[in-house]
């Protein structure tokens, strides 16, 4: 295996799928000549030309809708939102059109489309640019929602998303684009199935379920906790809809306690969904209430000291694990 950055892994996924299937194209703001606002699409214009790497004006509702229409007619668009914060002006296209037309047409129309881009807080970009969007989209039947934490998952899941016959919400992390990780060698094709969780770190004392940016916070916390004699098992759902609870349930049956750590707000969303399912599917095995460490329930402030408070921290993860382990 070689090491790639998260953004390079995403780029490879798009490049390989565009090579493989003429119907796949990339559309969005600054994806072509500018080489991508976050350089995810760097080099793709040179490789595929303007027909398949399409720069758009600032018109998210317009180009999201164009993508959906093109998908209905048989193409396989990748629609890049410069950030998921801007998807809100295209919300109607995604919710009312992409997610609905398959059933509304009794299965006659398919919408094979990927909406992707960076999600969640970056650094000090304040309230309008820091949304962690999983809760909005996971609520909608008719969509798949994927939020990969590592370069390997990013590549393998994006390839599966592009080949899917359904609309996929693909939530990347702006702060993850530079993260390096192992990815299968060139020429070794890996498709990671949508809807499969992954055991990240085995452990015996407490289960932590996490994904996205806090994944790395959790791994650091788990290291510290192991130094204090608390051995954490970490599970990453990778796909948030459909949600694969198999590994987390098995894990909780073993550790008898669980903390769910996520960036999105605490009210509802996949974090609350996981807690709901675990309390039903592993009720008899729980030795402590399920805990969550979440983004704080406030719009994101600009000041760095405040932003650091809002996002899940190692300290908050460690405290929560100690609480459920009755070790504090």
């Amino acid at each position: 295996m070689r090491e790639l950055r998260y953004r390079e892994a995403l780029r490879e996924a798009m490049l390989e799928e565009m090579e493989r299937d003429e119907r796949v194209f990339l559309m969005g703001e600054e994806v072509g000549h500018y080489q991508g606002a976050y350089k995810v699409s760097e080099g793709l214009l040179e490789r595929f030309g303007e027909r398949r790497v399409v720069d758009t004006p600032i018109a998210e509702a317009g180009f999201a809708g164009v993508g959906i229409g093109a998908a209905m007619a048989g193409l396989r668009p990748i629609i890049e939102f410069m950030t998921w914060n801007f998807s809100f002006v295209a919300f109607d296209q995604i919710i009312s059109n992409a997610a609905k037309v398959h059933q509304m047409s009794a299965g006659a129309i398919k919408v094979p489309i990927v909406f992707r881009g960076p999600n969640g807080a970056a650094k000090q970009v304040a309230a309008q640019h820091s949304h962690s969007c999983a809760p909005f989209y996971t609520n909608i039947p008719g969509l798949y929602v994927i939020q990969p934490s590592t370069p390997r998952d990013a590549k393998g899941l994006l390839k599966s998303a592009i080949r899917s016959n359904n609309p996929v919400i693909f939530l990347e992390g702006e702060t993850l684009y530079g993260v390096k990780g192992e990815v299968p060698d060139e020429g070794v094709e890996e498709l990671i199935p949508i809807g499969e969780s992954r055991l990240v770190r085995p452990g015996a004392d407490c289960t932590i379920v996490t994904w996205g940016r806090p994944y790395y916070t959790v791994l650091a916390a788990a290291e510290k906790l192991s130094g204090e004699g608390i051995d954490c098992e970490v599970v990453d759902p990778r796909t948030l809809r459909p949600l694969d609870t198999r590994l987390m349930v098995e894990s909780v049956k073993k550790t008898n306690r669980c903390v769910v750590v996520h960036e999105h707000w605490p009210y509802g969303g996949p974090g609350a969904e996981i807690v709901d399912r675990l309390q039903r599917e592993a009720f008899d095995y729980l030795d402590a209430p399920l805990e969550r460490v979440t983004g704080l329930d406030v719009p994101m402030p600009y000041a760095l000291n405040l932003e650091d408070k809002v996002l899940p921290t190692e300290e908050r993860v460690i405290d929560a694990v100690k609480r459920v382990a009755y070790a504090s």
Binding site: A61, G65, V66, I68, A73, S96, G107
Partner: protein, 322 residues
């Protein structure tokens, strides 16, 4: 001037649409049809003219006032009526209802019920035509109520920018639900908006099927031959309220009666008689259409209900190569 046979065919189709809607209204009152029901009565010439011009490979999008165009495109009255009745034999198998007719095999890609939301989809199928080097054209209908919402602006912007093979047909029936155009738009002539999007604009009356056909034909030709999109404003009028729950108290009886003088069906009928067609021959067509629609209602009534087992299985499309 079209020949008599074309006009007779168009007359018959307009009668099918008219009777279909009248029966739909009756069955709505009886409680056989639920939800919202928006009738196309008064606007028939437009849908008929458009489908006369289009090829099989072309795409059509419409708003929730979608029965007329679906029938004109060749959907059977049975499949349409059964959909209104929420039956498995309906064109959307009971999952769409009045506002979401679909007939994919005939390129009818739906009735859409969020105002302005489907214009970008139409730009999308046109994008596909251009991307794939195909000469198919997309026609997208919407009402005068759509012209102020963002979806209109963004779809028009992209279609104009990329010179997509799409024809935007604004069926200006003078009212956005209950609000007349002069209270929603500073412009009387909406077609001048086309200029702002770098596309050709056109504007004409929609009660004479021959006029509509000729003018739509120009726009479709332009799209098919790489000349880019057209924005058309067709002046029309609906003889019923916005939907079944609307008594249309915002307009006068005099206005309605005046408009009915230009009933597109009467216009064709008079033309045909001018061409020497016997009134009794037209009456025979009317009777035949009555029977077809009665049969559609019977069919809808007797059809099996929408299938519960399809409810979960149609949320996501099956995976695998496609």
């Amino acid at each position: 001037m079209q020949n008599k046979d074309d006009l007779l065919r168009q007359y018959r189709m307009m009668m099918v649409m008219r009777r279909f809607e009248e029966e739909a209204a009756r069955n709505y009152a009886k409680g056989k049809i639920g939800g919202f029901l928006h009738l196309y009565i008064g606007q028939e010439a437009i849908a008929v003219a458009v489908t006369e011009v289009l090829e099989e490979r072309d795409y059509i999008f419409q708003t929730y006032r979608d029965h007329g165009i679906a029938l004109a495109r060749g959907m059977s009255a049975k499949a349409g009526m059964a959909e209104l009745f929420g039956k498995d034999t309906g064109c959307s198998r009971g999952f769409g209802g009045s506002m979401h007719f679909f007939d994919v095999d005939r390129g009818f890609l739906g009735g859409w019920a969020i105002v302005g939301g489907h214009l970008a989809l139409a730009a999308g199928t046109a994008f596909k035509s251009k991307y794939a080097g195909e000469d198919s054209v997309t026609v997208c209908f919407f009402g005068d109520g759509s012209i102020n919402i963002g979806g209109f602006h963004e779809a028009m912007s992209l279609a104009g920018l990329w010179k997509l093979p799409v024809v935007f047909v604004c069926e200006n029936n003078q009212y956005a639900m209950g609000t007349p155009l002069e209270r929603t738009s500073p412009l009387k002539d909406l077609s001048i908006k086309a200029k702002g999007y770098g596309m050709v604009g056109d504007r004409f009356d929609g009660h004479d099927v021959e006029v509509v056909q000729a003018r739509i034909n120009e726009a479709v030709d332009r799209a098919r031959t790489g000349g880019g999109p057209t924005f058309i404003e067709v002046l029309t009028y609906r003889f019923r309220g916005h939907s079944m729950s609307d008594p249309a108290k915002y307009r006068t009886t005099t206005e309605l009666e005046q408009r009915k003088q230009q009933d597109p069906i009467t216009v064709v009928r008079e033309k045909l008689m001018g061409l020497g067609v016997d009134e009794s021959a037209l009456d025979d067509i009317d009777l035949e259409v009555d029977e077809e629609i009665d049969e559609a209602v019977r069919f809808a009534d007797e059809s099996p209900p929408a299938r519960e087992d399809l409810m979960m299985s149609t949320v996501m499309a099956p995976e695998g190569e496609s």
